[in-house]
């Protein structure tokens, strides 16, 4: 008897929901094996990675704070990927948003007023959009490959951030260390959960997937995204591919930019060289873990956020490598892609 993959007559909805769970279980199993192989006690490692963060309220708070930008970025990327616009530039758009939102504070460090925070957030979103407009224009005008242009612009943004935080925007009072001035109170997100870093930004971020769900389900834009599954049908329907590329890049770029400024105006408090922009890539994993469904973005973001917090925790308590967190995410993505096969195929045992 040998196993055989047989195509299902209809994609299984049940599997669509279970596949991420299977993937998560497989990823944790592989992690345990790796832990054992590297000489650490697997069960302790498992506890430190996945359970310790959930054991205390402050752990939960950390997970929420880490998941918020993932939910924002993931929601935007769900739209882009559904429209087959492969935006790999969330990292660059995140940085652009952080930079754009910081402009006001850099040049007017003592600024006050209730209007400051909303304007900064708006600037952040716009910054992300403008940065995403570049690959959009390149794609439409020159047929440039979106994957390549967005990816390359990530490095440009990283370099730009490095330059700004070491150069013109460096706070002179920092004793030579890179980084901008700290954001004043008027430009900082109010805390919602005292004693933690859970702020208004976290609340905003978790609304994003819901808004995106509504957009995709009920609006004309959402209909266009659905139809863009087929290029020829989009032409037949009278939809412009160029418009779809613009709109999806601007939307996902804007949400990534907003995530960037929310981090800077929130937990980080200043524009630094490292503002966790690698969240832009984790956002891709979140989008796929959510099966490109906006409703799945929240649980997916929480899971990946948990992986982040857990691996940071394991570094401290067990001395595990810092790269472990990234390794986990990669394994999770691979496991998910493999588990997704079961959505379209079922496993049968055949007589050899």
């Amino acid at each position: 008897m040998s196993p055989v993959l047989e195509r299902r007559p209809q994609s299984s909805t049940v599997m669509r929901v279970i596949a991420p769970v299977i993937a998560a279980l497989a990823a944790t199993l592989i992690t345990l094996v790796l832990l054992a192989l590297s000489g650490k006690a697997p069960m302790e490692g498992f506890y430190a990675l996945f359970l310790a963060p959930l054991a205390t309220p402050s752990g939960w708070a950390q997970v929420l704070v880490k998941s918020a930008p993932l939910a924002l970025i993931g929601a935007g990327l769900v739209v882009a990927f559904r429209a087959r616009v492969w935006n790999i530039g969330a990292q660059g758009q995140y940085i652009a948003g952080a930079v754009a939102g910081s402009v006001l504070v850099i040049y007017r460090p003592e600024i006050t007023g209730g209007w400051v925070l909303p304007v900064i957030l708006l600037l952040g979103a716009v910054g992300g959009m403008v940065y995403a407009a570049v690959p959009a224009w390149l794609a439409i005008r020159f047929n440039a490959n979106v994957i390549l242009s967005t990816l390359m612009l990530d490095y440009v943004a990283l370099a730009g951030l490095h330059y700004l935080t070491f150069g013109p925007w460096r706070n002179p009072a920092n004793f030579g260390f890179p980084g901008s001035v700290s954001f004043p109170a008027s430009a900082s997100l109010p805390l919602l959960w005292p004693g933690t870093q859970v702020d208004l930004g976290v609340l905003l971020a978790f609304f994003a997937p819901l808004l995106v769900w509504g957009l995709l389900r009920f609006s004309l834009f959402g209909y266009q995204v659905r139809v863009s599954l087929s290029e020829a049908a989009s032409v037949y329907a009278g939809f412009s591919r160029a418009r779809m590329v613009w709109q999806s890049l601007l939307l996902s770029g804007g949400l990534a930019g907003l995530a960037g400024i929310l981090q800077v105006a929130g937990p980080i408090g200043q524009l630094q060289t490292d503002i966790s922009s690698d969240l832009g890539f984790a956002g891709i994993i979140v989008a796929y873990l959510a099966q490109l469904n906006p409703l799945g973005v929240m649980p997916a973001a929480l899971l990946v956020g948990l992986f982040y917090v857990g691996s940071a925790n394991a570094q401290i308590t067990l001395g595990l490598s810092a790269a472990l967190g990234e390794l986990l995410q990669g394994i999770l993505l691979l496991a998910l892609l493999a588990a997704n096969v079961l959505v379209h195929y079922r496993l049968r045992w055949r007589q050899a």
Partner: protein
């Protein structure tokens, strides 16, 4: 008859008398797919030197059967016997090594390479790459089998008929001597003259002992060419006839299950009304290297009239449709709707002027297969279901329901994806969606291709009804019979040009056939007066 020896090689065909075990025997072959029985206990045999027809309408299970014979699919039940021995055909390579060859509807030729280079890809498995040897083989085959093909010419310069001959040559020149040649709907891409030439070649080959399996749904050809017929309907063998000379009606009845309903010709054709759409001197370069440029296209679509555009697929029909519908922009004044220059208008703008169309590609363009029927029902009329940028989902659902009811579209629920619809129902859905919008100019490309007879009749009746209501229609089809039944005037598209337009009364089929083969040299080369 003297044989031309190709450097000492034997003639490739087995010249055995028509005795001994049958070349191919199918015993109780069955194949199931989720939800459908594609083939159910199919049994028949093909003798040596026989031209055997596999007759069946679209959806009868012919393709699945061919795939099993050629090793592309494994049968769920039943046996295949090759020259008396039971065998399992594991792959097309295995089938070829037994002596089978297949010419499919869609050719596997690389356009930028020459004929010899294309054949070298599959024939030169062992040894050095020797193009000259292939060229010699091709020329020898030309003499031996009457299959003339210019060996060094690049394929994109060849007509479709010539390309098909290259595919047949590929089978004849393969390593293992060819014993069974399978042709899948070969004449769907040929002009009438090319079909005749093909039949002559096939009869020659069969006389030498080659067995031929001729798969078709065209009754006249089967009667003209074939010895015995196996009729397939809904996956089962419904008849095995010893002579193909049965009356057309009887064959049709066997294929469909009852006499096909006659085409309802509405009351006698009224005189055509005013010109609704006009094309004047349209020249359009090819959109890509393998496309067809449009040259000096002139035509008129008049109210209450159907203009039929005949011609083999690939002669510019797709490019013309793209230009007429707005998918591709043209010089402004070259296309006029009700006298207004509209060449620069896009698809949506022309729809607002009353122009609607049904494209040739149903799945993937006419509908998005993964989306529900509700979503697909809006595809070309989503503007009507918008309220301030938001889609009205309840109205959309009801509209999809009514569409299916009105046009007899059999489905399992409008929330289900369009991919769940059969070919005929899908086309009824698409046609219904367009017709319900009361178009004043309507273009249909290959409206009944691959559709079962009952649905095809319904669609053709709808076209006639639309004409009776005063719309201006154009039907593009490679089915000449269909065009002759529906059109008021008819023209032929060939090589990116349109022939002179003729009224259907007193039409000369031979002239049409000649025009279909005219190609790029134009009608002048045929000394036809416009």
């Amino acid at each position: 008859m003297p044989r031309n020896m190709d450097r000492g090689r034997e003639s490739k065909l087995d010249k055995q008398a028509a005795v001994g075990p049958p070349r191919l025997e199918l015993l109780g072959l069955s194949k199931h797919f989720p939800g459908v029985k594609a083939n159910d206990e199919v049994s028949f045999e093909i003798r040596r030197g026989e031209i055997h027809a596999l007759l069946g309408e679209n959806g009868a299970g012919k393709s699945t059967l061919l795939k099993m014979i050629f090793g592309l699919l494994k049968p769920d039940a039943g046996q295949i016997k090759w020259e008396g021995r039971i065998i399992q055909i594991g792959s097309p390579r295995h089938a070829q090594s037994l002596g089978m060859g297949m010419v499919q509807q869609h050719f596997a030729l690389l356009e930028s390479l020459s004929v010899a280079e294309n054949l070298a890809l599959t024939l030169n498995r062992r040894g050095r790459f020797d193009l000259e040897r292939i060229v010699h083989q091709i020329e020898a085959a030309a003499n031996e089998y009457g299959l003339k093909v210019p060996a060094r010419r690049p394929v994109h310069h060849l007509s479709v008929g010539e390309r098909q001959r290259v595919e047949i040559l590929r089978c004849l020149l393969q390593e293992e001597p060819l014993r069974l040649l399978i042709l899948d709907e070969p004449t769907s891409v040929l002009t009438p003259q090319e079909s005749k030439a093909l039949f002559a070649v096939l009869r020659n080959l069969a006389a030498d002992g080659l067995s031929i399996l001729f798969v078709s749904h065209k009754l006249e050809e089967v009667r003209a060419l074939c010895d015995r017929v196996t009729v397939l309907r809904k996956g089962e063998v419904v008849a095995r006839l010893d002579s193909a000379k049965e009356a057309v009606d009887e064959l049709a009845r066997l294929m469909v299950g009852e006499a096909p309903p006659p085409l309802l010709l509405s009351e006698k054709r009224k005189d055509a009304g005013p010109v609704r759409l006009q094309v004047e001197g349209l020249n359009l370069p090819a959109a890509d290297p393998h496309g067809m440029p449009l040259r000096n296209i002139n035509l008129e679509l008049r109210s209450g009239e159907i203009l039929g555009l005949a011609g083999v697929s690939g002669n510019g029909q797709a490019e013309l449709l793209a230009a007429l519908t707005g998918e591709r922009r043209s010089p402004t004044k070259s296309i006029l709707i009700d006298g207004l220059p509209v060449g620069y208008l896009d698809v949506r703008a022309r729809r607002r002027l009353g122009l609607r169309y049904v494209p040739e590609e149903r799945v993937g363009k006419g509908v998005v297969p993964e989306l529900s029927l509700i979503d697909n029902g809006l595809l070309t009329r989503w503007g009507r279901f918008l309220k301030k940028g938001w889609m009205r989902s309840r109205e959309a659902r009801e509209s999809a329901w009514r569409l299916c009811e009105r046009h007899h579209v059999r489905q399992t629920g409008v929330e289900h994806p369009a991919a769940s619809l059969s070919g005929g129902n899908l086309q009824k859905f698409i046609m219904g969606r367009e017709l319900d919008e009361q178009p004043t100019i309507f273009i249909a490309a290959q409206p009944t291709w691959g559709v079962d007879v009952a649905s095809a009749r319904r669609i053709q009746s709808q076209l006639l009804e639309l004409r009776a209501r005063g719309a201006a229609l154009m039907v593009i089809s490679d089915d000449l019979e269909e065009l002759l039944a529906l059109s008021d005037r008819i023209a032929v598209m060939s090589g990116g040009r349109i022939s002179p337009v003729r009224s259907i009364d007193g039409i000369d089929r031979k002239e049409l056939g000649r025009w279909m083969g005219a190609g790029r040299e134009g009608w002048e080369s045929l000394n036809d007066v416009a």
